[in-house]
Each structure stands twice: as structure tokens, then as C-alpha cells.
Assembly symmetry: C2
Amino acid sequence: MSKPGQHVISRLRQMILSGELESGQRLAEIPTAEQLGVSRTPVRIAFRTLEQEGLLTKLSGRGYMVRQVTQAEISGSIEVRGVLEGLAARQAAENTLSKAQTNELRELLKQGDDLFAKGSINEQDLAIYHDMNQRFHQIIIEASLNPAIAEALSRNEHLPFASVSALAFDRNNLVQEYRRFNFAHMQHHAVFDAIHNGQGSRAEAIMREHANATHGYAKIFSQMEKNGEKMHVLNNINSII
Amino acid sequence: MSKPGQHVISRLRQMILSGELESGQRLAEIPTAEQLGVSRTPVRIAFRTLEQEGLLTKLSGRGYMVRQVTQAEISGSIEVRGVLEGLAARQAAENTLSKAQTNELRELLKQGDDLFAKGSINEQDLAIYHDMNQRFHQIIIEASLNPAIAEALSRNEHLPFASVSALAFDRNNLVQEYRRFNFAHMQHHAVFDAIHNGQGSRAEAIMREHANATHGYAKIFSQMEKNGEKMHVLNNINSII
DNA sequence: TATGCATAAATTGGATCCAATATTTATATT
DNA sequence: AATATAAATATTGGATCCAATTTATGCATA
């Protein structure tokens, strides 16, 4: 049996993000504790932590609920991420990248070039690009030397406003996804160039536009919502990020 | 005796923000529980909550510590608040203010005009302006209709990057504070005008500049730090906000 | 005197019991 | 049948005990 403790939080978080616990589903301490094979104490702490992370909503007197997010909230979150990552790009440009950061960013861009050179992508390519994209953004946030950015971002990291990056939600349309991600990749090039040349304002502007591309996915969710389809939002979102 | 429960969190938070618990001070569950007259359980939950709020730092195996913030973190936080409040101003302009919001903002600006018309301010004026300023910013954040902004801001609300607003830290120099706050007040006018005229980009730019004015206070803290003075940062910051 | 090891102390983590509160259900009354 | 009231249920909140882990201390040894 896996170690208990802090792991209850991770386990519940993973269950929410994977969609195993559906958006809107109610959770009470006792049944959850029994299900996980632990006592109420760690579950209580986990619920409060996940509530603060924005993954659970408290229902006074009736337990907790897996948070439901509306399309408006998704769009708003995309905007927030845009300005925060834009600030990161600006400050990274002002601070100058370290040699190691420059090298790793160049390597990531190179790998992306190879990926898109074929003129088409498959699901595996998307998975690869997903990881590369995450790393790309992470480096820039680190290079900003502003821990407050990561702190502000962490509140919403499970939400869908992420930069255009990874596994397409609608994987059936790989032609469209190729265009989408190839364009995002070109934006990465532009962001890097601006940062590398110390053009803070330019880097910020491109990064904000880059983040806005994610609105396309928000629209897909919106459409699903209208069609009455179940919106495993947190799940899908997380795949996209 | 006051009701226990959720109040342990509020009490500890207030003790930290007021400076009663000094920055860097260690806190353990048992002594804290005894001091507050409760059991360990609510204290445990409170510690984790306050850690997530950024008020406590966990020391593995040695309890918790009231968070210490460096001057660099303060400056970084000011920048973060700048872009978030800038976004709020932009979106408020795009959404159009409600009649009630327009009226209240106008009333606040009018009261500010009266306050600064005298050509000087005293401590009481600063306290009044503090409340007015908070309300001014709150309305704009609400008018953005973007809850993600408030959510991202909440993570840092106890930190010092706030908009130039309120009780001067260095209250002895009231002439300088008059200039500082009068200028901030004029920026409020400009932000309102831009929002009212639907000029989103302009509103955002002014708001960002407005937030940057707070850097002046960060420098004061920096100076104190160099002089080896104790930096009750959270306390002072909170008074300034 | 410095260092490594063993022991003691401090501290958090988990489980369980009891208390308080809010919600739901059932019942009686009009 | 609708409503108010009361009982029952569900659920969280707090206290306390025990376990596990980490840190601090002291002692022996080189």
C-alpha cells in the first residue's frame, strides 16, 4: 500500500484532473476517507487544500464539490495567464537569459522545427510537443527571476488558460491541429528572439498574443457546453496545457 | 470566549499581518494551540491554509515560520499586481461600467478632490484616502467581470505590491506623502476617464504605471533592510495597501 | 578539540471519539 | 394539499491518543 499522508492530496488532485471525479460531483469526508482507505483527518486537510487550489468548491453543510468552471471563467483565466506570462517574457528579456537557458530554449525550438518539418503531425507528435511546450514556458517564467509570477500562476495552473501547447482536445482534426501548433511554434521562435535581443516590450506583446490563441479551445468547450455534453473541463484542459 | 473553528485562521492571519508575530518567527502546532486555547487540529489546518496564502513557510520537521519577503520579492509582486490590475482596467473599459459603478467611482474621485484641495494632508486624511483607494480598485476589478483576476490577486493580497494608495509608511514626511498621493489621485482620474470612454489599452497602460508608483515604497523597505532595521514587512505593507 | 554514533526530544501525521451544526425527511396541523 | 414543526440524518469541527519522522543533544572515541 502506498504511503499515506501528503499523498492523499496528490491522489485526489489526480482523480479530479483525470476526470475520474467528474466536475460537479459531490464529495464528503467520510465516504472519501473510506474509499481511499485512510481516516478523515488527511481527507479534511486535502479538501481544504484543494479548495484553495480552486479544484473543489465548498457546499456549506453538504460537503465539497468538484469545481465547475464556466466558459466565461475559462476565457478570463486565459487573459490572466496572458498578462502574467507576458510579464515573465518582458522581465526575462530585461534580465538577459543565462547561457544554459539560451541553449535549452534553442534546443527546444530546434526539436520543434524537426517536428513540424514533416508538414503533418500525429498524436504522438502532439504528446512530444506538449512536454516541449511546457518546458519552454517554464524556462521563461524562471528567467523572469520573479517568483511572484509563478505564485500567481499556481492558483490557476489547473485551469485552461494555458499557453497554446499540447495535446489537442479535438484530436480527430489533426490537419487543423497541425496549423494551430505550427503557428504556436512560430510564436515561440518570435518570443525567444525578442527575449534574446533584449526587446522586453516586444517579447511581452508576442507572449500575450500567444496565450490568446488558447481562446480557440475555450470556444470548443463553449460549443460542448451548449450541446449539453459533459464538460470534464479540468480534465480536458489539463491535457491541453 | 469567541467561537473557535474557522476563527483560528483569522486570528493567526491577523497576528501575522499586525506584526504581533514577527517575520521569521517560528511557530509549532502545540505551543500555538495552547496559546490560542484550542487543540492541535484547527491549528494544523490553519498552518496549511496560511502556508498556501503565502503567510507561513514550512520548515520540514521544525514547524512553520512567518514568511520573510525580500526586497526583490516585493518588487516582483508590484509588477504582478500591475499587470493584473491593468488587465482589470482594460476589461472594465471593454465591458462598460454599470451606472452604479460609474456613480460610485465619480463620488470617490470627488471626495479625493476635496481631500487634496487643501494643499496638504494629515494622518487622518491618509486613513480616509486608504479606504477610498481600496474601494476604487475593488470596483474596477469587479467591473472587469473576470473572477480569475481577483483569484490570482488573492494569492498576493497580503504582499506589498498594492496600488499606491493609503497610509504612508513614512508618516513623518507628510509633504512628500501629499505629493505622492495627490499624483496617485490624478492617476485615478485618468484611469476612470479612459475606462468611461471605452479606451481599454489606455486604461491598462495608466493602471500599470499607477501600480509602479508603489515601487517607491519598496525602496524604502530596501533601505530599512540595508540599515538592519527589522522589516515587519507584512505589517507595514498591509498598512500601505 | 573535533567527529561520529546513539539516545532523547520535538514535531508533525493519522485515527478515533465526541460535539455542534446544517440539511433532509417525516409528521402533524390547518 | 400546503405549511409549519419536529425528529432523524448527514456532515463538518474539535480534542485526544498513538505512531512515525525529523531534529537536537550528549557522550564516547580518536
